[in-house]
Symmetry: C2
Amino acid sequence: MTSPISSTRVTPRRPSGFPEYLPAEQLAFNKMLATVRSSYEAAGFGPIETPALELAEVLLAKGGGETEQEVFRFGKGSKDYVLHYDLTVPLARYVTEHQNDIAFPFRRSQIQKVWRAERAQKGRSREFYQCDADVVGESDVAVDGEMIALAASTMRALAVGDFVIRVNNRKILTGLYESLGVADKATGLLRIIDKLEKIGEAGVKELLTKEGLDDSQISTLLKIAELRGPVAKVTSELQELAGNNPQLVTGLEELERAIQAARACGVTETQLEIDCSIARGLDYYTSTVFETVLTDLPELGSVCSGGRFDNLAQYYTDRALPGVGISIGLTRMFDGLRDVGKLDLTAKTPSQVIILPMNDEAWSVAGKLAESLREANVACELVMAETKLPKVFTRADKLSVPYVAIIGEKELTHGKVALKDMSSGEQTEVALGDVLARIKHLH
Amino acid sequence: MTSPISSTRVTPRRPSGFPEYLPAEQLAFNKMLATVRSSYEAAGFGPIETPALELAEVLLAKGGGETEQEVFRFGKGSKDYVLHYDLTVPLARYVTEHQNDIAFPFRRSQIQKVWRAERAQKGRSREFYQCDADVVGESDVAVDGEMIALAASTMRALAVGDFVIRVNNRKILTGLYESLGVADKATGLLRIIDKLEKIGEAGVKELLTKEGLDDSQISTLLKIAELRGPVAKVTSELQELAGNNPQLVTGLEELERAIQAARACGVTETQLEIDCSIARGLDYYTSTVFETVLTDLPELGSVCSGGRFDNLAQYYTDRALPGVGISIGLTRMFDGLRDVGKLDLTAKTPSQVIILPMNDEAWSVAGKLAESLREANVACELVMAETKLPKVFTRADKLSVPYVAIIGEKELTHGKVALKDMSSGEQTEVALGDVLARIKHLH
């Protein structure tokens, strides 16, 4: 019956790029995850989940070398599977597949792990959580303002300190590119400009020169990219630049409407900037684009990004599905905050109390006490196994559990509990019915 | 700039065996998921998550043909990956890898999707949630009683109707097998007995005959397997059968201690039965084993199962890690309840209110109203896009949103809201500051 002990042990290890948390980290991470979920749902974004595995022909319908190299893809039987690498393509598939069963505008939130086969490096896990919210089937950019406000209220709820949301509109950029006569190269050029923060001005200049741009064109592009700052200031600078290019004029109007809506939805002046360098690498964005940077941790890059798309599901349907979405890279933000010591990782267990019945006769009283505490949302650990008192104290210390409640023969007789406050070391006799109040009072 | 529209569309579809929920289902599912999470954490089981992908050589260290056929396994570069097919083997790997950073007994909960490459069939998705809780590093079977109680309290919290937890101890079975002289075949025989409910008595008899058992042995085995019912009755029958076989005597003692502990932790008499047919197919169980059946939906099989193991991580370490765990197959239970109409799927969005500012001037008032409702845990959808009133009413109807709050020019002037109760159709003027109270009162 007993399984034979194998003589060769395997070293327990994970593939590189697949970190996992210790319980204290996971508790803190889950708290943030729950905060994002609540924030999205409070704003009326109903949750969905899509399968981790999709068919390669469907998920990679768009084609494109970079994406294909970055996915975990494999055959099994006659099927060619891919682990989803974002939540946007699955959303496009979902919305098309279920279009007769959902109401448009479709407001959905989706919080799941995604997988990317890119080379593992610091801050770049191959498995991480994305927290997305999108409105699909709505073309008014006022909704973009609402989404920027959702980003802001979620960041506030996460209590990760000050932040700035940097907004732009891709039509402003394409308008400028048109007036420079490089509209045909716009997508490629935008991708290069997008690297400004990463590779610096010199690097960007080099890449632009390779694209065949002359010095005057490059200097105008960089001048635009460096336009950033408070909304009022940049808007007037842009208005001067706008001239008569209709794309640029439209882009500026959309940007102003989105910002006005964001303000109405509670985004403060200091939380919002225009930043004309922002283009977002993804080519499905067509209008509003934005990124969010933590004031104390700019090196993390954008922790919450988003934008508007004209056509979410063009590879699946003729139906035009415009919309706007935001995405929080929660794993990356969490890890970044942890690495600079900005997270409270004190709690190593959800338990506030460890309850120790000193003998079997005390089991039932201990069980009832545990039940009453749990009903009042006080998590507690019940020690049913025969365990010596010092061992329980050591455990409470090790796990940072604030209280130990002991029920021995004496306590059982008097309907009491010996309650030890682990931080003060003080131990007092408390009537069974008063334990909850005492803990809540002391805590 | 605008992405080119591809001329060939791909049909959006999922691989078979990978269902996904519509928002109403996902909302209900997530509620159950949150209930399980709360129940586990209230009992002091700290959460962990392990990567979806593990190295094949680690996860499949145990070997065994069945498991290897059932996993999604694939090479990528020089790596041989497997999607985890349960949460127990990853727990064994986790506990061994982090043994110096965690406190034993290690009380952990783990709620994640798992993947199995088995043939897709009704009620058998290839991707599903498992909700596990385990105590690792504790040999006293009193803890098994606590885990049975955790199963019971979680089922109560899920409000899925009456249920019975059927408990057994594998030592009782092995003891009997010893006395029948078939101890060497015990594991295989237990697997056969375990199929009693699935393939019936005749099927089991046939398989046992093939194993070389004679009629008298078979009839004894079946007699044992049919021993089930209230604890007191079966215990006395078992005591008669026990005789002097030390395994059987130990098994009975352990069973009694576990049941006594479960009772002390709040499991009622009707929620607990002894059932000697239960062996659990998994060969790592060595003592207590149990299953949970919903009284109104026995055809679902066990919705929450568990048991005690002597040696969790034998393939990774010499360190003996005994413990006990439970697992809820939440996706399967949810789908089963949905299929028989036992779930409330009315809500198609988290929103309780849709707020419609009739013009841009009303944006800011609408935004503030939304914020105040959300702070009071009333989810609401804000319609920032220019939208006609009838369209909003249609949407509220379609999504079963109980209230629509309209802020037009007149309302703006008087600091009021036109609040429409969608179920009665009644529309009343409510002062901005009274909307929350009105909604909570009416609801």
